[in-house]
Amino acid sequence: MKNLLILMLVTVCYAETFRQYTSPRGYVDFGVHGKTYDITEQSIYDVIIKGAKEFEKEYPKERLKKIVESEVGKRAIFNSKNICKDDSIKNWETDYYTYEMDYSNPLGRVIFKKGDRVVAPKVDVLRQVCFVDGANLISAKNQIDFMQNATKGQCVFAVINRDVRDLWKMYPSYEFYPSNKMLFDRFGVKCAPSILSMKDTKIKKDYFSLEKFKEGVK
């Protein structure tokens, strides 16, 4: 009986301690004194719901589709005035990569300074980059046929002045990409039409006069 009472006492004490720890009694509620102010700040949850609804209203599906179609149209074409006037077949030259800005590691140490020149990686490349001026479709066709023959079908075409999707339809098995400034600047390609070849650490740039690809001229 004595043991039983001790056990009960211990159990009650434990439970009471636990209860007091989680829900204290005997406190005095002093009530609210002074002027109170309503919280004017909106709950962020409500702000998010309202914002999401407004976003969906401002950008319905149709508007988003139009934006995407317009942006795709912009990316599919690269306009350039760099047109070759004369033929020029160059020799193989070492491909140097010049850093256009300081390259730092995350600790802030400059690894490469702007203007530093390094030899580009030694990579054997079977394909050649063929720059095509697509302003005139017939001329573009002639350029494409000529370059495919010249490279034995190894052209990857970089196109200027023409939406590449037009050429995708005309030549479904060839690869066409819009050219860009970085491509021209990186390899020092001056104009189109031209063929850029790469072998080991060397590159070769062949330029062709656009005149020779005009309609009726081969």
């Binding site: 056990l7 009960m8 009650v12 439970a15 009471e16 636990f18 209860r19 989680t22 829900s23 962020i44 949850y45 998010i48 719901i49 914002g51 999401a52 407004e54 976003f55 969906e56 950008y59 599906k61 988003l64 589709k65 934006i67 995407v68 179609e69 942006e71 795709v72 990316r75 990569y97 800005m101 300081d102 390259y103 730092s104 995350p106 600790l107 802030g108 490469f112 580009a120 990686p121 990579v123 054997d124 490349v125 079977l126 394909r127 980059v129 990857v156 590449v164 999707r165 995708w168 339809k169 479904p172 098995s173 690869e175 066409f176 990409y177 970085m182 491509l183 990186r186 390899f187 790469m198």
Partner: protein
């Protein structure tokens, strides 16, 4: 009998004590699971598909003062939902708004270039990657959170791999950006493993949940109408927003241990900028196609490298360095300002900064946010969807800056003294 009485009394007393404890009821099941609905356009279901609670967990304003020129500010960390990244099987298909533009499917299949001395087995690469600039938080919060310098501007498509010659031709990428070759060395591969561990550690410390431990939530309900009240129950992620808004605790990144760990993990990850953690594929879009969700992270790492480089060299202000990745602390030189500190203004940085970005799956399933380069099992478990037209991720970008002194994008840059 006595023992029974003792137990009964004890239980009643215990019950009275526990009545005082708050009970949190959460409905973590969704009526959407009763039907297997086709995934729908995530952008039109923003509230259900975005992990809004990241705003609560990642935005922090401290009392650490600093200055930009003569203007004082407070050290602040924030996060911004600014981009959508897609990985698609069909060229010029945009699952984020369910738009398919006419594109030649044959062009999508391109054999990988092999070296003149033989080498790798040619692979067929038939996926494409899109980066869609969409400043969602900037549009939603507009003037309310001006000091956070959220992204603004019009929706744009700065990158489409269908129009990028280097995306499917590794040799072109290597020739265009030669220092990326570091990842093809044995030491590059070893550091890639280290990067993977650092990424996993970073994710654990930040409290991001692995997909194999979170309930699966579809990106849409069964009906076409958007029911925001039901969305609370349908999206377990947003339940945390409610809880956090009500003042409940969340994983804070301010604790000493957390900050110290993140310092180490993030500086390792960013020191090995050329590797994308577990995916190890910072260039091109070549993966084996068996795990599109996890591979979309590698895709974004590659796209991020291109856009960081382009933003540094061309007037495309999409990808800039906006975090510090603990440079000063790791260099041990507190008093010397780093030349590329971005506490006062975003800086050009030609390489990808993995710890600056967080990926969150939104199509075909809604997923938890993940660090870039997290191991596939944590990212993609249960997130495959046969017949899905691609994978869409929301991309969040972190920013560390001196609030009120910072040159928000579009303003003149101000520098530290």
């Amino acid at each position: 009998m006595k023992i029974f009485l003792i137990l009964l009394i004890s239980l009643q007393l215990f019950g009275a004590a526990t009545e005082a404890l708050p009970v949190i009821e959460r409905d973590e099941t969704s009526s959407a699971f009763k039907e297997h609905a086709t995934p729908k356009v995530p952008v039109l279901r923003l509230f259900e598909t975005v992990a809004w609670y990241l705003i609560m967990t990642e935005i922090e304003i401290t009392l650490d003062a600093g200055q930009c020129g003569l203007i004082p500010g407070f050290r602040t960390s924030s996060i911004d939902l600014f981009m959508i990244n897609e990985r698609v099987n069909k060229p010029l298909h945009f699952p984020f708004i369910d738009l398919s533009m006419d594109a030649n499917p044959i062009k999508a299949n391109t054999s990988r270039e092999t070296g003149a001395n033989g080498g790798d087995t040619p692979k067929v690469q038939n996926t494409n990657s899109h980066a869609i600039y969409m400043p969602i938080l900037g549009i939603i919060f507009k003037k309310q959170l001006d000091f956070l310098c959220l992204s603004n501007g019009e929706i744009a498509l700065p990158y489409l791999s269908e129009f990028d010659l280097t995306y499917k031709h590794d040799y072109m990428y290597m020739k265009m950006i030669p220092h990326m070759l570091a990842m093809f060395t044995p030491s590059g591969i070893m550091t890639g493993l280290l990067d993977q561990l650092a990424t996993m550690g970073s994710e654990t410390v930040r409290g991001f949940k692995s997909e194999n431990s979170t309930p699966m939530v579809q990106s849409t309900g069964a009906s076409d109408s958007i029911d925001y009240e039901n969305a609370i129950n349908q999206n377990s992620l947003n339940i945390m927003v409610q809880g956090t808004a009500a003042g409940e605790d969340y994983n804070s990144t301010t604790s000493k241990f957390t900050k110290a760990s993140l310092k180490v993990f993030d500086s390792i990850r960013n020191g090995i900028y050329f590797a994308s953690g577990a995916e190890m594929s910072p260039i091109g879009g070549y993966q084996d196609g068996n795990d599109p969700v996890a591979e979309s992270h590698a895709d974004f790492h590659a796209v991020g490298n291109i856009l960081h480089g382009a933003s540094a060299l061309l007037p495309i202000a999409v990808f800039k360095k906006t975090t510090e990745f603990h440079m000063k602390e790791m260099s041990g030189n507190e008093n010397t300002p780093s030349i590329i500190s971005s506490m006062c203004a975003p800086k050009d940085f030609p390489m990808m900064i993995p710890s600056q970005y967080v990926m969150q799956l939104s199509y075909p399933w809604v997923g938890s946010p993940h660090e870039l380069g997290q191991i596939p099992v944590a990212v993609s478990t249960g997130k495959g969807f046969p017949g899905a037209k691609g994978v869409v991720n929301y991309v969040w970008s972190r920013r560390e800056f001196y609030a009120f002194a910072y040159a928000c994008p579009g303003q003149n840059a101000r520098e530290n003294d």
